[in-house]
């Protein structure tokens, strides 16, 4: 691969991981610019992972001020109120992350996600968004897709003991190892909007139930104009009603989205701490694969639920892209 050699310092620090993904991948990582919007326990884990991996830069967006609650699953925020008081989540996380790896530039951008123009997203190779509404997800995904430069787009959400990752790498070329050979492949990804508009009755029977449940909650929050995660047990009847409407409209059996699952998701929308490193770890690995072009990346959803312990991938691209 072209480009400068790794410095002696980089070789020493990244020795163990270069043995996993090779020096080329390490060089590509060191030139990649990552944007993370929405700080929570899961994105904190993700940020840690890619800062340790040695990306070029990481930019954080989230204007929320640190509160005691934000501390719960986030190890990047010092617990001393004298330290965190008055500062935003991103400022606090930036300070901790810089410390993890001085070779990575970590910075904070203020402002509202949906107000940033397309050119802002064009500054990055990877955009990861979390804690945002359905319409924001769609909007930013579209902004990224309109750029002449290819930007990898991810959404990640964790509620209670469940997590979801969505990936849009557009047209992604990669190499993978098959037996003794390295073969070149490509995947064509649908957008978030395209993916979620696949009719439910067209999906495989064994499709992860979490997929449906997340769509119901997402739509409920949008319809009720709630902030992401701003639901409680009191909303359960409304959520169940919406689920039934959905199932009817999409001719899906109602039992396919268990009420108990929805109940769990609305009862405590906060992240169950041990799930954060799992979702943040899978996301970190996927972003590293996408940047390095090495290894077959996830296509195009990932689900994890502590209840059954499975980490499942689902491909919702077949129905309308034919790929």
């Amino acid at each position: 691969m072209d480009g400068e050699e790794l410095t002696e310092q980089e070789t020493a620090l990244y020795d163990r991981q270069i043995r996993v993904w090779g020096a080329d991948a390490q060089r590509r990582l060191s030139k990649a610019h990552i944007l993370v919007c929405g700080i929570n326990g899961t994105t904190a884990e993700f940020c840690k992972n890619i800062v340790l991996a040695g990306v070029g830069s990481l930019t954080l967006v989230d204007d929320r001020v640190a509160t005691e609650e934000a501390l719960s699953a986030n190890f990047l925020i010092p617990s001393d109120e004298n330290v965190y008081g008055g500062k935003t989540l991103t400022e606090l996380c930036r300070d901790s992350l810089k410390d993890f790896n001085p070779m990575v530039r970590v910075s904070v951008e203020k402002g509202d996600l949906s107000n940033f123009g397309g050119e802002f997203y064009g500054n990055f190779d990877v955009v990861v968004i979390s804690c945002c509404s359905l319409s924001t997800k769609k909007l930013i995904n579209e902004k990224c897709r309109k750029l002449s430069k290819r930007v990898a787009f991810y959404t990640v959400d964790c509620r209670d003991s469940c997590g979801e990752i969505f990936v849009d790498l557009q047209l992604h070329k990669f190499s993978k190892q098959k037996l003794e050979e390295t073969i070149e492949c490509q995947h064509n990804y649908p957008s978030f909007e395209e993916s979620i508009s696949v009719p439910w009755n067209a999906l495989p029977r064994r499709m992860s139930k979490l997929y449906f449940a997340m769509r119901v909650i997402e739509r409920f929050e949008e319809a009720e104009q709630r902030k992401p995660g701003e639901v409680s047990i009191a909303d359960l009847p409304g959520v169940l009603k919406l689920k039934n409407e959905f199932c009817e409209a999409q001719s899906l059996k109602e039992s396919h989205i268990p009420d108990a699952l929805l109940e769990r998701l609305v009862t405590d929308p906060r992240e169950f701490p041990p799930v954060c490193p799992i979702i943040g770890g899978i996301l970190g690995q996927e972003v590293i694969k996408a940047i390095s072009g090495k290894g077959e990346p996830l296509k195009n959803f990932f689900f994890f639920d502590v209840m059954d312990g499975k980490g499942i991938t689902e491909d919702l691209s077949n129905a309308n892209t034919g790929s």
């Binding site: 991981q17 043995r19 884990e45 040695g54 617990s79 190892q177 009862t267 770890g281 980490g311 991938t313």
Partner: protein
Amino acid sequence: MATQKHSPAIKGAKVLMVGAGGIGCELLKTLALSGFQDIHIIDMDTIEVSNLNRQFLFRQSHVGQSKAKVARDAVLKFRPHISITPYHANVKDPNFNVEFFKEFNVVLNGLDNLDARRHVNRLCLAADVPLIESGTTGFLGQVTVHVKGRTECYECQPKPAPKTYPVCTITSTPSKFVHCIVWAKELLFAKLFGDKSQANDLNVRSSDGASSSEQAEDVFEHRKDEDIEQYGRKIYDHVFGYNIEVALSNEETWKNRNRPKPIYSKDAMPNDISQQNGNVEKNGATNDLSSVSAMASLGLKNPQDVWSLMENSRVFLEALKLFFMKRGKEIGNMTFDKDDQLAVEFVTAAANIRATAFGIPLHSLFEAKGIAGNIVHAVATTNAIIAGLIVIETIKVLQNDTKNYRMTYCLEHPTKKMLLMPVEPFEPNKSCYVCSETPLSLEINTNRAKLRDIVEKIVKAKLGMNFPIIMHGLALLYEVGEDLDEVMKKNYAANLDKVLCEFPSPVTSGTMLSIEDLQQELSCNINIKHREEFDEEKEPDGMVLSGWTEATSVVKDDKKSNANAGSTSSASQLEAEKNNEIESGTGKKRKLSEVSEAVNPDISSVAGDTRSQGKLEVLDDDEDDIFMFDDWESATNKKKRLQ
């Protein structure tokens, strides 16, 4: 399922973590965030630079300090009100005894070697404390739950043994780069810089071995007034030239093999070039011996480059010279250390020159270091995922939620759509010598073998005991301990050298020996069977232990390695046998027919992975499908799903 529901179980729990490395750092953080308030952590290691890419609780400024202590301080910054008790110590220390283990509700392993894993397994069994075991290599990982009497113990399934190579492959007929590395490190490096009194098979076996070895002694001896450059060339010509000529003279060997080509220094490196070889003065400025480097003095910068034969030859001679000129005091008692730059340079160059002679592809210093040092491939993400899974199982164990215990594999490529694959744990193996009371059986020549052979090759090497007591009926044959008096010590020392059949009550066919380790509270019986002959190649110990199963280990140094598809480094193709890193033991990859190559089982390989050789079976009930492995081989019937 959010934390508060688990609150009472979590808050009241006293947890022991063993290992504060790759998995350990992630685990300590995740335990703290999940609400655990009383965590004890043991790790004997100190922090190194190559840890910092994933052991995120550590900084450059902590290099050299205790992992356990620094990890504690780092976590207290975001969770100041919990109690974390660090021990900068070896988990095998006698004060971590059964009584100590009994204080805990659960033990969580984040270890790097088989030995310590087995030790902790035994203590957990003796103390009746649940153990959660884990390991990672690259993108692969696994978590398993071991609860006495309910699930299998860590040793219910055979573990691959460290790989060894036949001596003649190393000394005479290398066919893979790893053979050249083993030769360079175990034979040449040891011969030149190590303990001279150790036996060394350096010389290529020839038809008249005696005379050549006599001559060899003279060659390796560095005379006081001998020019170091001359000496280096003499060694070079002897090991890469003369020794190969001698080997070639044995026609039988080369009938079905490619004949090697002897290499002499004058051919590999013309005289005028070696004159300019190395500028020792460049190294002279510093007093830090660890920074002495042949690469630096030769102006070679990139450890990823594969050197030419000439470059390798220059590095070889330069490194040899630097050892004698800068590190003369250490000569005679050195052993290879992967963190010793000059030693790695010397071994890389020597292995590459030998590889050239035998027509084997050359490798970069980076790759050679990985092979020679058995370096494990490690990334932060896998450790983080595994730590999350450990905490989930920990909470189940604390709540005694037995029907939901799972062992989970973290895969690189989805299998059955899964990247994280839960599998039901297995019942204890009824013939496990560790957690059941099944006797072992030992075939041995009781007319020739000494008690020492049993102690060294079986009790220590295979059964992994530290403080064994060996009894025959009521007679104590052997014992280790600090409180023995001189008479007893003498007596036991004498017993070690006794032939088995010569004991007052002879140890022979039909004898049952009982062996006990007081620290591990493990005892087992061995039935002795006399056997006259053993196959030297297949049974090199001269004895065969059965009832104790040791999987044959396969070291993959070909390019098939599945698990590290992302890697270009061929070093990564080689699974380390015995490695020095925290998160994993050694690696052996087992092929799973359907679980893809990905379920790795590094040696850390918790119970359960060997059976992954079997087929994966999907129990197709829609609500909660559970994946289980069809058991491997005949054991199938013995194992049942836990209900």
